[in-house]
Amino acid sequence: MKNNYTEQQYITEELLALAAANLELDETRKKQMISAYEAVNKVFDDNEEFFKNYTVNVYAQGSLILGTTIKPLPGKEFDLDIVLKVDDSYLNHTPKEIYDEVYRVLSEHGTYEPLLQKKNRCIRINYNSDFHMDILPGCKITSDNSRVMIPNDKTLRDWSRTDPKSYAEWFLNIAEKHQSQFMLAQKWNSVTRASVETEDLPTDVYVKSPLQRTVQIVKRYRDLYYDKRDLTKTPAISSIVLTTILAQSYGEELSIQLALKNALIKLKSLADGYKFKGIKFSVYNPIDLYPDQEKRENFTDSWTDLHYKSFVEFVYDLEKKINAYIHNPKSEETYKSLFGNGYYKQNVQTLIKLDEALKGKPQLSAILSGTARTDASGTINTTTGVKNGRHGFFAE
């Protein structure tokens, strides 16, 4: 399929994708987290008391299954949210009973007992690492769907309906539409057609959807924005609220840059609605189709005026940073203001290496790997001339 993207648009797109990919949890860490919740699942499978008669399913919800993870900022922990679903009707139990039993089983386990912490609706395992696991206990509603009842609030008196699996399906359906036409998927196809050596170029960078990248970029800036703020005065906007708004406003754009621009239009209209007209928008769980809308799962049900004000300020700031970056993506300054310190140089190097590999002139790869030569006319190459010695540029 022929496309009309300019070279500059490709560069902007690749730098955005590389920046988001570098923020993502690496595969080792993802596997470590999956092992962690599988180990929890086994504890309940092996339980000879309360859980003996029930099947228990432990599964991740949130960014890990949506493909939108981002590394925590230095000194912060990754929050792994999992659901522990008891395969029995919620009508047979109270939320408190299930919560207490889950806590009891874990507290009787030598490994988990010292790591446990009771939270409002969930139980936290604080690993001696840079992540913690929040276990949300629940029961099934009916056998013909994936919906689950979880404790409504910290009183643990009432159940509340949710459905993380269907939410993930909903999100991924939106994200992966037109996958073969994504701007970078097209570029990736040309790379693979050219049989370019790609061992240090992660495929993931080029195949992840613009929506997933948009969510990662917005969430990353959210983390930076609230990092030094007093969260009692300016509460942070939750990932589920941002992810839902971004997915709902996604117009099937084929590039990250366009998806970001359109996401900003939607975020800005919500922010302006509150700022100028006092409209307090609600973000409902899009897969909860309960006939009475007021009883649907509302991700903003705990929002106060402070949340709305915080949302407005965050969105205005985000708009500035994204526009500055898209206007000038080839700048360490605009990179840092949107993504924080980190990988600008590395991203540019990856971009250049791929471009040169496609052109059959891998000069930067050769310089960085110590295999460069300089020929008689002063051109860097990999086959002829004087071997370039090891050195680093300096200034004094």
Partner: protein, 146 residues
């Protein structure tokens, strides 16, 4: 009279036999590179070259002498709108700093000119990328006083 040359440092030896040293460097470089013209001027080997890279013209002047303080080389470049800064690896005296004067010696007493010229090619490549991305993409040492 006893020959005491073996007591001299490598730099002193190069100074003592500066003509032989510079001619050897000249021959080595002319064998390997055809884009630089060399001349002996006083006690210096002076090379001049013009390179056109991505539509921009760069004029290089390379001075190499064992009588230079510190490094034997002084490499100067001129080009329209040239950005001369620590980020683009210019020394305070306006010459290029192509390597760390101690860390990049790897046991050598000094760097031969024939080994420096490929780094000029790398500088040109890196500077061109710097103009586009505002970052130095090839290896560099942190800027600091030695």
């Amino acid at each position: 009279m006893v020959d005491m040359v073996f007591l001299l440092s490598n730099k002193d030896k190069a100074q003592l036999n500066w003509m032989g040293f510079l001619v050897k460097s000249w021959i080595e470089c002319e064998e390997k590179f055809n884009w630089i013209r060399f001349n002996l001027i006083g006690k210096k080997l002076v090379g001049t070259a013009t390179q056109v890279y991505n539509g921009r013209t760069y004029k290089f002047t390379i001075e190499y002498s064992p009588f230079n303080r510190g490094r034997f080389d002084r490499v100067y470049v001129e080009s329209k709108g040239l950005i001369k800064s620590f980020d683009t690896h210019f020394n305070g005296d306006g010459s290029l700093c192509l390597y760390h004067p101690t860390k990049d010696l790897y046991g050598r007493p000094f760097v031969e000119l024939v080994d420096i010229i490929p780094w000029i090619a790398e500088w040109l490549y890196s500077y061109d990328k710097y103009l586009e991305f505002k970052v130095w993409v090839t290896p560099e040492h942190p800027h600091s006083k030695i």
